[in-house]
Symmetry: D3
């Protein structure tokens, strides 16, 4: 079967000072575009998957540049609505040893945040789609967006489209209470749920520390109890192992069983978008009928490689992911 | 008499692509801070004038960077209100031969645009002030700002503070009708009016082309008829003389007489802030009791030099302005 | 009628030192992609025309970056053949006052130069096409390319596709004698010919200086005598009017009459691609049924704006071209 | 009590090649300003402490840029003497794995090095001061400076101003013998002494390796024996634990007892100014009446964060230091 | 004895994206020049050794820039042949954590690859030479080059010149079979052989894993069995010890005995040229009559320092190498 | 006859802010090396003339970088004395429209300024020399340098070496009175004098405005009256013709006759080193026996091209100069 993926969310201008400078030192900002679901879309396009992005962006040429940033990597942009006045912006100060990542949002009043229900024609969007992906950030942006996301899920479900959702709880955007209310409704339509510990605690109050099971499998089981429609729960987690090293591992829980990936010890070039790259790995694995162990290795390796690519987008090929996931070779210079 | 100048308005982050690139090519943005009245304040500080800026900026470190950009040049920041969430941003695509300057605003929802009347304590702000300066941009930003500006004028007038206003009509921010209504009230408090042809037409419908007088003096006369409280009307105008050259000239009209500066033929490095630099020249001239001819030459030269400085701020000294305005020497390398 | 344009040629990596440096000073190269017909394609895509590019590029990620550079602006890349080992490169030292532009080619052995006849499936490429565009550079690259271009013309003609050709004589790539032989054959299939004086002299030995007619109209008439199939001959020429200024003007000759555009006096940011932008203007004008005078003004303005955009590609919209071509407004800051 | 801190020393232009290049590769230098005591001043200003810097800088605009670099962060510059011809410069090649930091000074003949006793009016400088801070670098610069520093100490002592001194022995500037002679006199006026092992050996010949006490507490005890006027001796030390990791720890010795901070394992962005940031932590702790344990944790965390900030200046807030020193949270992305 | 070293090979333009970007993100390329034997030559010149480079480069100014890059560091360029059309280029994507180094060659058709036997006048080149160095890359480039290299060896041997060869097997340039055939002939003339495990396996099928001896000494012994003319076999090897750390160690095998250097744990700035720097260390050691243990420490330290220098060339002095190899001091800031 | 040129003077580090920024805006400085006589040397080396530079530079690696900057272009560095502590630095703020060039020197205390008579062994330096060139800047630097320059002239004269001197009066370095005294002595040894109006007035009080002859020929005649040993006086002058255009013209006066070059109208990229490039043109013309008219055209064109090259050094070939001086072709793109 030929798949066509639809992902839905905001697309923002990301501005970060050069060379690990602080905002108070910045005289120049590196400019890229990004946003959770857009990142997943680009990653899929780089895997040669047919994928389109749905969002709303102003008609001006910075809005156009955001569109171009997707188009450049082969993401379909035919369903992007143009209008509104402002593009969402986020300023990023990069983590440097003990100094944490610092994000300043300038996204209130963006075209997407102010979009209306009738901006998106889901019948047209889903006409040839087989998969719908979004994250918990989108309904968190505004009440309108919560309503639109739910509507999209219903429309997708009617058409038998597979729905994946990365819970992605953002405490800066909404309270746990509100998230719980909105996501409880939306999750009823979801087939594949990507969730980590913070999401599970933040949205559903699932505290894994009370269980003696491995945390991620505990959470997966509990989520599936709450939403029996979840065919799979997938997680990726990153642990700081030293001031220069993080450990990355993933799990897929499906049909009552947890599958764990190998661990990667990483030195991180860019902290953003690793979860989104993981989602792309999960979707790619699913539409290519990977078995769960292969799927979790592939998705984990995809997420690992994202940490080596600057910007929000994961610019790696299936070959590169496969090589990292399954080849045993070293990674010295090849020439 | 020791002067203390207060200027009032928004302070924005200005982002422009490197090397005359278009927005659709930009992978990096040069970041400076600017805004009409802030530009005037920095220019005055570089003239060693005691000047403070009044605005509202978020508490986050990009707001702080905006504050620092003023403090670095010696502008007083003790009356800057901190709060709100977003900083106003403007994106600037620089004019390149036939391709015009392109500005995209992202300032709706800025801390300043959403500021309230009680954010500014004018009694405290004006405690030791002798001069109050603002432009027509500030009341154009929001109804609140129109109200706040009028209040500030009243408070200043009560204290016998000299008030200068650069009319600065911006058709993107309000209609001529609304501008007329608001500015007609505010102008009653103004002592020194800086105005050019576009402002006069846009706000007060003063069409100089119907008169056989020199345009700027005609406008000045008409404005003074409308606002007999104007002690002086000052103008600066820039004319494109070839694709690489602009001509700059200025006029001061006071006590029934127009004084014209010499003309400068310029190759322009930065098109922004030349009018603001001119205002600083007028204020400096006034507080130093320059005669009108000296004042118009000084102010015109200050504005001319701004065209050679990148960014919004005019980073030139009184000496440099004096040398350009009055010295006859060439400008070859001195070493 | 809904048009679909096919353009055909090489796509190269262009490397130029920063800030007008010489090659002997360069420690960094600005990297963009370009090539005559690709430039025309991007320009058309920016005019919202449905256009696809046909070329051959290596499978490696620099080849992919070249593909992405087209895709980003909306050029169709579905007919780009992938294979071969090297991408063509050209190094560009920018003209600076008396120092002329300096180009060093590194394109021998490129995937495109070594491409074979059976690399391109013209039946598939032309399936839904209405227009075919190429320049004289393409057949000049190699004997294979001459043969392929001729084949493409024949295939296009069979399908009733309009064919445009920019003669674009490059003395570094072939002799006048050889160009004459190859182009004489190819031109029999061409409907719209873009040619300037250098091309006419170089390829067809048409020396306008012996005629007392206006040079471009003389050349157009002579070309049409040689190739009665030419429905239109179009030219654009740039004249150095001072060390900082060039004059740009254009002509369209059709149905026995020459139409001349207004002149633009330009300060040039980038010297490359202005002819390719002109071709895009001609094609756009034709498929939108502009009358000849409107067409020549539009195309001339498109070419003028290209001089203000760095890189090979013309990143301007129809609106911007229209405004320059037909609006009388100044080009000061709009805000 | 409202504190006003005076710090005194040179302020230099620091020039370092981009991207860890060697001097022999450099075609561009990153330019910031710095100097031991100035770094402490900026750090205090970023803690919202009222602090002024005393130095001498040329009147030219590079001298002015140095002044602006302080003013931007809120350091008082009203006591900076302007005059002389040259600014001190230091060139910095950054440590890269086994390749050590390399500093080339160009500071002989600087305005500060050649300053005279009567350049500084200590009565005016100390008029509203409560604290005086300097380092052992200042008296090392020249005989004049040794004399001026001693004079300043005497003047400060007369006014009951607290005096802190970072011993900061620099073997490139003076011999241990000379340092001993000068510092022995100066130290009689000091209340708070910041010293590490190298300083203690270099200036006072205190060799901790002969003692079986912990080195830093041994040195502190010995220094207090020599200078019973020392109310506190504070130290910070950095140990290379691997090629990518350094360990940072601090001690405060006061009233016969040593207090040790936690250890931080750091990956270092900038090696310069960590001791100066520590001094700022000590002064901040003292004027805010922190108990010794809190003081040593705060100062150690301040110094740790400096390692994550490029340039000489420590651009961190009290909140950030507190969070690192006392919060147990991780430092993942917060959004 | 006064030595004069001749090294022979290609010199390429190396282009790498800034800041660890991928090729698909690159808008600018850092440009340096490099090539195995040229790197060795520059390293020797930085050790103040009299060394000349033999290669062929186009006459254009990019060819000249390559020449200048050698001349700048004092390498003799009097034997560089100028001619041909293209310079060899290699694009370098830097290793970043799990993402390996990626090299794309654009060197087919380079002036050097297409050079002829009579381009090089070995009698003139070797007139005052005492040492000849090349690597296995040079004969791998083309059949011509294999022939030329063999000829050079014969000419050198006739004159009693010492010959060193870094086997440097490159599987992308030739098969093991072909390498074996060519190198077996060439190696008969070699006095000093630099070889590592990959070379030994790739060219001579020497699989150390079948032996219970230490791998490098096993290989050395076997090579000497094959080529009794080898007076010395030297190796350097780099092992990944964590995602941020590599270990470097070296061995010299001579007169039946293996000498091992200390190990360095490195964080790597640039992965290219470390073997070439090692060769320079070996040659320097030899011409300065270092004993084997001193030689292996010196060469290993030279190679270690290369990892801290960006670009192909090792820009370190004998003093710096000596300090790392033999001094026990730490590498904190010295000032 | 095979010529060997010796040039003598300081070599400084030149630091200029990027993109026409002012010093108060600079966060990065472009670094090149330059100095009057060094510039002439590099220009000659680029003309393939055998030339060596004599100066004194510190042993540190910034001193070495200065040496490398000459060596890279083929200037002999075998007579450069190494020692002293500091390198001379000059900061350059580039002229921008009405804002003049601004130079801040940091050269007092440089190794060269403090050099002693016995640092330079003129017998060795002049061993194989045929020409000695210096400028009036060198004796202006210090009394030592005046003495050394005079000594060098005497030594050169003894050997029959041709001596050329660019008077190059710098009012910032010495008074006219002192210059007169020193240069009057030195000029007795000079064969070829390069002088312009400012030099003639500043050093010798020659005021051409009192004469009705063409200024430059008047000055030449007067100089030859004063120094009959002058075989030739050569001048180049630059006149501002508009804010974007300068005119360049030259004259050679020899054997009683003045020869004038054509005029060039230039847009200037770099204002520094044009006179030094002119000197190189004069020397090149002389050693190649150009007739006076050819010489003045060649030298004028060399100087013109320098204005198109950033940095102090003139990086152009004889071919390029010839083409500009004598070819009539346009300077459009050649490809």
């Amino acid at each position: 079967m030929k798949h066509k993926i639809i992902t839905f969310g905001e697309l923002m201008l990301r501005l970060s000072p050069d060379n690990n400078e602080r905002f108070t030192q910045a005289h120049s900002y590196e400019a890229v575009y990004g946003g959770g679901e857009a990142n997943t879309a680009v990653s899929l396009a780089n895997f040669n998957v047919n994928v389109s992005y749905v969002t709303k962006l102003p008609e001006h040429t910075i809005g156009q540049s955001a569109v171009n940033s997707l188009r450049q990597y082969g993401v379909g942009v035919e369903h992007i609505v143009r209008g509104g006045e402002q593009i969402g912006i986020y300023f990023l100060e990069k983590k440097t040893s003990q100094r944490p990542t610092n994000v300043i949002y300038n996204r209130k009043g963006s075209a997407f945040a102010l979009a209306n229900v009738d901006d998106f024609d889901w019948d047209s969007i889903f006409a040839d789609a087989t998969w719908f992906h979004f994250s918990g950030i989108t309904p968190a942006i505004s009440d309108n967006m919560a309503q639109i996301t739910l509507l999209a899920c219903k429309k997708a479900k009617e058409r038998g489209i597979t729905i994946s959702c990365d819970l992605n709880y953002r405490s800066k955007l909404w309270s746990g209470e509100k998230a719980n209310k909105v996501m409880s409704e939306i999750c009823k339509y979801v087939d594949i749920c990507i969730a980590n510990e913070d999401d599970a605690v933040g949205i559903f109050g699932l505290d894994a520390s009370n269980s003696d099971k491995e945390k991620n499998s505990y959470i997966a089981e509990e989520l599936i109890k709450m939403f029996p429609n979840f065919k799979m729960v997938a997680s990726v987690w990153r642990t700081e192992t030293s001031i220069t090293t993080f450990k990355l591992q993933s799990m897929i829980y499906t049909e009552g069983k947890a599958y764990y990936s190998q661990e990667f010890f990483m030195n991180i070039l860019d902290y953003i978008g690793a979860g989104d790259a993981y989602c792309a790995g999960i979707i790619y694995s699913f539409i290519n009928d990977f078995d769960p162990q292969k799927a979790v290795e592939f998705s984990n390796a995809a997420s690992c490689l994202k940490h080596t690519v600057s910007g929000d987008y994961n610019l790696v090929s299936v070959d590169e992911v496969m090589k990292l996931a399954f080849a045993k070779a070293g990674n010295e210079v090849s020439r």
